[in-house]
Symmetry: C2
Subunit: 139 residues, 2 copies
């Protein structure tokens, strides 16, 4: 686990620091998307708010995490898959937000279907967020 974290940071040409290790670990363990607020709460040591902001920013730039837009007016961050690289994020999967447990997960297997845009319009990135009830909560 520790190896994996260092590997990811090194690959992105980032120096390995306490906060980066810690925050990256949180994402790997979480499995679902996290808000800035969640990250701050889950850090074992207390890092400065500013540090969390800057770390998330760097992770974004390096393509380690990506943002998920939500209707709830909160930005969520989630780990990118391996094929994401600096500058270009391959975000063609669906995000699912459970309205019961609140967990937001990336459904990496389900791809976003093609859509026809009006003439002249050019799509660069497509985001699809599905709100509903997840399998765990549907009982």
């Amino acid at each position: 686990m520790e190896d994996q974290i260092i590997k990811i940071l090194r690959k992105s040409q980032l120096s390995v620091t306490e906060s980066r290790r810690n925050i990256l670990e949180i994402f790997i363990q979480a499995g679902s998307a996290l808000a800035h607020h969640d990250v701050e709460e889950k850090t074992s040591e207390r890092f400065d708010r500013v540090t969390v902001y800057r770390t998330l920013q760097v992770f974004m730039e390096k393509g380690i995490i990506h943002t998920i837009p939500t209707t709830e007016n909160a930005v969520l961050y989630a780990l990118c898959k391996d094929d994401c690289e600096e500058g270009h994020h391959h975000d063609n999967h669906i995000h699912f937000v459970c309205e019961d447990c609140g967990a937001t997960t990336c459904m990496d297997d389900i791809h976003i279907p093609e859509i026809k845009l009006p003439l002249g319009y050019n799509a660069l990135q497509i985001n699809m967020v599905v709100n509903g009830i997840c399998a765990k909560c549907k009982k």
Copy 2:
């Protein structure tokens, strides 16, 4: 125009006040989605920030406007079509964000395609936001 505005407010059982007329007019004229900030800037008279917040909130509740989630960490508001009613918003169209001019528009004609979710998952609402270059900016 003035008639149209009063009609919409009356239909939603809202009293017709300066700020509501003014803000609703801004949305009708804008044609595209607006951030809270934009609304504040465009009001001809200066209304209190709080009034703008509350007005947008009321418009949301009455189904006059709806929100659009964006990756940019900003919530946008846009006029709903006629078939949206209090409590239930028919948001099955695509939103397009132009990365050049920044305009966000509702593509009412393009419906969100069906997708197959894993077993146990239940979709209640689907949001689809396309980022790219719009017809005006593609030159």
